[in-house]
């Protein structure tokens, strides 16, 4: 009986399906990944071993770096209502277009007198380059930061009927007195609890 001939099989596999799946997943991850929001202040966060993630809603973020303070409150509706309240207080009226644009602006650090000009700039890059971002005034005579915080707390309470959380995003090399000054402003409004934003510590910790 003759020996059955074993047929040689090709070693190359059809990878089309695998490639399809790979790119499908890739597209999914690229789209779902939240792009890291560029910070106008170059902040290097300190690391800690805490594990609690920062909530995304009803939170105000104070960025502190190089002695300047930038402010952002989460949520377009809250931003717009905060702007209304600030405008009322400082006797500046904002047009509906300006409100709309302010609703999508991220962290900003301009005195309210320059805010109109700042809002009407076309994109974030020109805003960053404009030199208007001198930080929000925090002097005791002209404490706009306190007003921003107070008005956004009111806005959050009106819109979502919850308490606003305050988080501090400080640069690791910032001196403690600068942080203390901001914390004192918060404490004047009876905010005694706040979150410090840190990065996860890698390695042995």
């Amino acid at each position: 009986m003759p020996r059955a001939k074993v047929k040689r099989k090709s070693t190359s596999i059809d990878m089309t399906a695998m490639c399809d799946v790979a790119f499908l997943l890739l597209t999914f991850f690229i789209l779902t990944a939240t792009a890291r929001q560029p910070d106008p202040l170059d902040i290097k966060l300190p690391a800690s071993s805490y594990k609690i993630p920062v909530p995304d809603v009803d939170i105000a973020k104070l960025s502190i770096g190089r002695g300047k303070v930038f402010y952002e409150v989460a949520g377009k509706d809250v931003k717009m209502l905060t702007l209304d309240k600030m405008g009322e207080q400082y006797k500046i009226s904002f047009t509906p277009q300006e409100r709309e644009r302010f609703g999508v602006i991220q962290s900003f650090g301009v005195p309210i007198q320059n805010l109109k000009q700042f809002i009407m700039m076309n994109d974030q890059a020109t805003r960053d380059k404009s030199g208007l971002q001198t930080g929000i005034p925090t002097d005791s005579l002209n404490n706009q930061l306190a007003d921003w915080i107070l008005n956004s707390r009111k806005a959050v309470a009106e819109l979502h009927s919850t308490a606003m959380r305050v988080s501090i995003k400080g640069d690791a090399k910032e001196e403690y007195p600068v942080i203390k000054k901001i914390v004192d402003i918060l404490q004047k409004q009876k905010i005694n609890k706040f979150s410090l934003i840190t990065t996860a510590a890698g390695g042995a910790k």
Binding site: M15, M18, F29, S48, V54, I64, E174, F194
Partner: protein
């Protein structure tokens, strides 16, 4: 599979007919798949890891003048002063009565653990009498120092809420820190 075919066309001289070679339609996808999976891995890892983390801090209310404040027992109080050049000074008990130790941030964890054990042994592991830490950040300290020390307390599992006191830094403490060049 997808090699470049350089031999076709004009290779053979003399023969009248030029045969065009049929190129294979299959493309080698290995490299593309490799790259795709590399990117997938990258995006998967970065999406979950880049979440910022919150460290919740509570400071004592300044305005409340509560008369029945609890006295802290000196024997279970550890005061940590944060100075400049990434140095801390710590002492147990009352200010001025015990000589502060100066340490770096790498060693403070050991000291906290040692003091925690000492206090626990002294009180026969009474859960109500554990080490209480008072943190006093001075003007020389950086924000990172403050975050680090709060983190150390979390790592060493100090259960009693830490007191963050940046108002009442006594002159004796200041003098000591100045003398040692950390203020």
């Amino acid at each position: 599979m997808a090699e470049l075919d350089t031999s076709s066309g004009g290779g053979k001289k003399g023969s009248g007919k030029v045969r065009s070679k049929k190129a294979s339609t299959k493309v080698d996808l290995t490299a593309m798949v490799d790259l795709a999976f590399l990117l997938i891995t990258f995006f998967m890892l970065t999406t979950s890891l880049s979440k910022p983390i919150a460290m919740d801090i509570a400071k004592p209310d300044k305005d409340v003048k509560d008369e029945n404040r609890l006295e802290l027992r000196a024997s279970q109080t550890m005061t940590i002063l944060l100075g400049k050049n990434n140095k801390v000074a710590w002492y147990m008990g009352e200010a001025g009565k015990s000589q502060p130790n100066i340490e770096g941030y790498g060693d403070i964890r050991k000291s906290i653990l040692a003091n925690k054990k000492k206090v626990a042994d002294m009180n026969n592991n009474d859960p109500k009498k554990t080490l209480v830490v008072v943190i006093k950040p001075t003007s020389g300290a950086s924000y990172e120092n403050f975050v680090n020390i709060m983190d150390e307390l979390n790592i060493t599992k100090i259960t009693a809420a830490p007191a963050i006191d940046d108002e009442n830094i006594t002159d004796a403490e200041k003098d000591f820190m100045k003398k040692n060049g950390i203020l």
